[in-house]
């Protein structure tokens, strides 16, 4: 009698544990582990730069500015354009005076200009594009003629569903990354901007951690 009661209790306990595990699994079923890993890899806000148009250059804007990230305003696309010095010892820096032209799969087009810290964005309230998107990069040679665009480069593949350029474009180039969004035509005289937060340049959380031995 005693033994069977105990066995029953054990069984009931196992059942309850299984049930709890199942409920837990259902509750977290909407988590996106890749996105979580990306969000975990981002540094804190740079001191002296309150959240705004120039904050967090190089970071995946939409990862935060989305229902998943929970930050308002919701952005449909956002990113940063960089110059990558030929000399590897120098770090990529942000570029003002560039424009990203995006075409959605219904043919809607937007031209988004980079601000003084290289960032550009579109709020979802202003444009809710139909993915996939085509991305093109242009130089805006003159401040006083913002509509004159000179083509720099075109992304051959499409953006499937991530409005953050830095969801894919993470420094450096690797088997998992095309590197930062890089302007190819950059005047040699262009210098890194003043008074901007430092850019996020990885490490890419998609790369496995391998310690050098």
């Amino acid at each position: 009698m005693m033994r069977s009661a105990r066995r029953l209790a054990t069984l009931a306990h196992a059942g309850a544990t299984l049930f709890a595990a199942l409920v837990a699994a259902l509750l977290v079923a909407c988590d996106d582990p890749s996105l979580d890993r990306l969000l975990d890899a981002l540094p804190d806000e740079a001191p002296g730069f309150p959240p705004g148009e120039v904050h967090r250059p190089g970071q995946p804007c939409v990862a935060c500015h989305s229902p998943y990230g929970g930050v308002e305003p919701e952005l449909s696309v956002g990113g940063t354009v960089f110059a990558v010095p030929k000399d590897d010892s120098e770090a990529p820096f942000m570029l003002e005076g560039y424009a990203v032209r995006l075409v959605d799969s219904e043919g809607e087009t937007r031209v988004l200009r980079t601000n003084r810290c290289g960032n550009f964005l579109s709020k979802k309230a202003d444009w809710d594009p139909a993915f996939p998107l085509r991305a093109e990069l242009y130089q805006v040679p003159r401040d006083d003629q913002p509509d004159v665009l000179v083509q720099d480069s075109v992304m051959a593949s499409r953006i499937g569903r991530d409005g953050s350029c830095a969801g894919c474009h993470i420094h450096p180039k690797s088997p998992f990354s095309p590197g930062v969004v890089e302007a190819l035509k950059v005047d040699a005289s262009v210098e890194p901007p003043n008074d901007c937060p430092p850019p996020w340049l990885g490490p890419d959380p998609r790369l496995p951690e391998i310690s050098a031995q």
Binding site: R161, K173, S174, F176
Partner: protein, 214 residues
Amino acid sequence: MNGPMKVAHASRLGALVTHRGRSSRLGKLVAHRTLESLVALAALVVGGCTIDIDAPASLERPSFEQFKTVSPLLEQRCGSLDCHGNLARPLRVFGVRGMRYVNIFDPDQALELADPELARENGSFPGAGGKPTTEDEYAQNWRSACALEPEKMSRVARGELDPDELLLLRKPLGMEGHKGAALFVKGSSDHVCITSWLEGDVSNSECELSLKNP
């Protein structure tokens, strides 16, 4: 089990019940049976489906050589880095437009993951300057496509099952929940490219056409 045997079995149980002295044996038997059915139930729940023990032990797969014509479509439509070009997602897709395959069991290649310089020298990155999709990457993509539902894929390869029954098509056709939404419709060049491969006669022209879609 046939009728008479069932009857014999039932009468033996009856005998057990009527013989008082054996009632504890009945108890044990019932307990045993309960445990057995519990284990069976648990196995069912875990397995999710029953196993056909008559199924042959080997799996058929659609042609790898023909798959190389289909791979660019998967690379373009499925393999962007924000979709299946990601180690964390099922149906991993590798290639020049997305994630590059690194064989971590090859010491020379594995280093590419730790040394960006080496990855760049070897063209092991996506986009301009990166090496074209490699034979290893084709093989990985073929395995991904086949391993999604191996038994079903085997039946498709044998011509016993309609290719549209595969998750590989149900998802992009929007017949099944898909985070990446519905991507193409039945009869489109994308759809025909994949089904023609699954049916053993890949259509070069449809596959080529499919790459012109956005």
